[in-house]
Symmetry: C2
Subunit: 339 residues, 2 copies
C-alpha cells in the first residue's frame, strides 16, 4: 500500500470539502509524513492537485533523494508566492503551528484558515507505523533491562546517559526525548532533569527510543519505602484501570476521567498535575490525548500513552507509563512489567 | 548587575516607543532569558509594567523556585485574557515565532503586532553570558581533543556518541544540537546524520556543548587526499579572512560577502550552500547572522559563528567553524587549531 498517496488523497478530499485549494506545510514531521523527505533547515510544502516542496539549497541533495513529491529549490519568497498565485489559488489552509511571521507573509495574497488535515491522518497509524513504534519500544525496554539502575552507585546524569547509549547499541537512532532518570525529591517534577548526584529513592525513569523516525515512551518508578509503595499502588491501579477502560467509540476525556477518579478517591487529585496521556508517532507528542479537554472519539489504530502520576511537592513522585495501540481494546506495546 | 531587570527595563522602553502596553512571550528561551524560569510544557509571560507569568500546573514548583517575575497558575485561557483586559491593555506585541493558533485566540481582543524586543536584547551578550559560552566551548574542545577520531576503527554513530559522553564528563549538561560526526560522501550534506558505518575520508565533526543553558558550536574537517586538502585550504582562507574582516559598525551581510567571495574566486560559489554564520546563546541559532539577507550592524558583545563550507555533491564536503565574540575586532572563542 502506498501510504503517502493514500494520505495525500484523503487530505485533498478534506480540503475540497472546505473549498481550500492549497495547504501549506512547514512542520518538519508533517512534511516527512507526506513525502518521506525530512527537512533539516526549512521547507515549504504546498499540498494541491500537483503538490510541490520548496526546499532550501542545503537540503536539495536529500530532498531529491528522499521525496515522493516534486521538489524545487527555494530561491525567493516572492517567486514562490507568485508561482502559487499563477495557479489561481486564492484559499490557502495553514497548520495551527505556523509561525505568525510566516502567516504574515501569506495573509495579503490568500484567504487563510488553519486546519489540521495532516494531524487527522497522523492520528491513525498504519501497520508499518505501528511496527516502527513496537520496534522502538522493544529497543528502549531491552536497554532498560540491561541498565543496572538499582545498583545506585552511579549518578543520575551518568545513568541517564548509559541508558541512551544502550538504546543506540540496541538499534535506536537516538532517544525520542531528553531521558528523565531522576531520584529522591527530583521525582516530584514531571519534567525533571537528571542531576550530577548519587541516586536516592524512589528512582523514576521516563525514556524512549527513536527507530526509523518513530518514538517510544515509557515510565517506570522503582520504590523502596512504605510511603513510596503506598503511592505506587494507587498509581498502578489508576494505570491498569484506565487501560482496561479504553475502547473505540469512547471519548479521550473519558479515559482521563477513569484514571483521575481513582487518584482522587485516594485523596491525591491535586497531586496528579498533568493529563493522562498523549499520542505519539514521528513526534513524541501528537494528538489526540487522554485529557479532560479532548473529546476526540477513540479509534482503532491510534497509539496513545497512559501515564498517571502523583507528585508530592519537595517529597517525591511516582509515574507509570505504557503506550497502547487501540484494537478492539487497548493493547500494551512491549512487555516490561511495572515492577 | 541585575541583568533580568536591565533587559526588562530596555524592553519596556522599546514597547513604550511603539505604544505597546504588553508583550506576550511563549518561546521557552525568551521566558528563561527574562525570568530565569525555563518552562517544560507551556507558559505565557506577559511583559508589562507589572510583568507576570502564567505557568502550567506541572511547572509551578520550578516556576516558583526559579522565576524573578511573579508567577500565577494557568487555569483557563478566558481567565487569563480577561485579567489582561481588566488592566486596560489594548495593544499587544507578540513574538514572530508565535503559533498561528495562539495568535488567533488573542486577535479579537487586542491590536496585535509582531516585535523582536527580546531578540534585540539577546543579540548583545552580557559578560556572564560570554563566560558561559566560553566555558561551553572549552568543554566541547577538550572533549574533541580526548576523542581519538582519526583512529577510524569505530563507526560514525558510536564516535558521535562518545564525543557527547566526553562533553558530559567534562561538565556539559548536554550537547547543544545533534552532533554531526560523519565521513566520506556523507560530509557533502551540511546537516548530515551519523551512520552506522566505519569512517571514510574526510571526517567532518560539527559539535557543541551546553553549559549553564548556553551553547557552543565548532566544526573541524580532517582531510587526507590531495583533493580534500585543496578544498580545505580554500575553506580555511575563507574562514580566516572573514574573521579578520569583522569589525563593529560593519553590516553582517558584508562578512558573508568576504567569506563567499573567496570561495567564488576559486570557482566553488555554487557549492557554498548556506550562510556564513549565526549568533548563538541560549539557543543554537539566534540573530543576527552573517547572511546576505542580514543588514544588522555588528556591535560589541555579539557572539556569532563563522562557518564557510564547500560541498561537492555525492563526493565530500569541508566546513570549518569557529565562534567569535565581537570586541574591537573578532576574538575567536577557544583555542582548538583548524588542523
Amino acid at each position: 500500500m502506498d501510504y503517502n498517496k493514500l494520505h495525500l488523497d484523503n487530505i485533498l478530499k478534506d480540503m475540497e470539502k472546505d473549498n481550500n485549494q492549497a495547504y501549506l506545510l512547514t512542520q518538519f514531521t508533517n512534511i516527512e509524513y507526506i513525502s518521506d523527505y525530512k527537512p533539516t533547515s526549512f521547507a515549504f510544502c504546498i499540498i494541491k492537485d500537483n503538490p510541490i516542496i520548496y526546499a532550501s539549497k542545503m537540503d536539495m541533495e536529500i530532498a531529491n533523494r528522499d521525496s515522493s513529491i516534486e521538489v524545487k529549490e527555494y530561491e525567493k519568497f516572492e517567486t514562490m508566492i507568485s508561482e502559487i498565485k499563477e495557479e489561481g489559488i486564492k484559499n490557502l489552509a495553514i497548520e495551527p503551528s505556523l509561525a505568525y511571521s510566516t502567516y504574515e507573509k501569506f495573509k495579503d495574497d490568500f484567504k487563510i484558515e488553519s486546519k489540521t488535515y495532516v494531524d487527522k491522518q497522523r492520528m491513525i497509524k498504519s501497520p508499518s507505523e505501528i511496527k516502527n513504534i513496537e520496534k522502538a519500544t522493544e529497543i528502549a525496554q531491552t536497554a532498560f533491562r540491561q541498565l543496572d539502575v538499582s545498583s545506585r552507585s552511579e549518578t543520575e546524569d551518568v545513568l541517564a546517559f548509559d541508558l541512551v547509549r544502550l538504546m543506540i547499541e540496541n538499534g535506536a537512532s537516538k532517544e525520542s526525548f531528553d531521558t528523565i532518570l531522576v531520584s529522591g525529591s527530583n521525582t516530584s517534577l514531571p519534567h525533571a532533569v537528571p542531576q550530577h548526584k548519587k541516586l536516592e529513592t524512589p528512582i523514576l525513569v521516563d525514556w524512549g527510543a527513536k527507530y526509523n523516525g518513530y518514538c517510544s515512551d515509557n515510565t517506570r518508578t522503582i520504590v523502596y519505602t512504605e510511603k513510596e509503595h503506598e503511592i505506587f499502588d494507587i498509581v498502578r491501579e489508576s494505570h491498569d484501570k484506565a487501560i482496561k477502560s479504553i475502547k473505540p467509540g469512547l471519548k479521550c476525556c473519558e479515559i482521563d476521567n477513569v484514571s483521575r477518579d481513582i487518584i482522587k478517591e485516594y485523596g491525591y487529585g491535586d497531586q496528579f498535575i498533568h493529563s493522562t496521556g498523549h499520542s505519539l508517532g514521528l513526534d513524541i507528542h501528537e494528538t489526540p490525548g487522554f485529557s479532560f479537554r479532548d473529546d476526540t472519539i477513540i479509534e482503532k489504530g491510534m497509539v496513545i500513552t497512559v501515564e498517571p502520576g502523583i507528585y508530592l511537592e519537595e517529597e517525591f513522585g511516582v509515574r507509570l507509563e505504557d503506550t497502547v495501540v487501540i484494537e478492539n481494546n487497548a493493547r500494551i506495546i512491549g512487555d516490561l512489567p511495572l515492577i
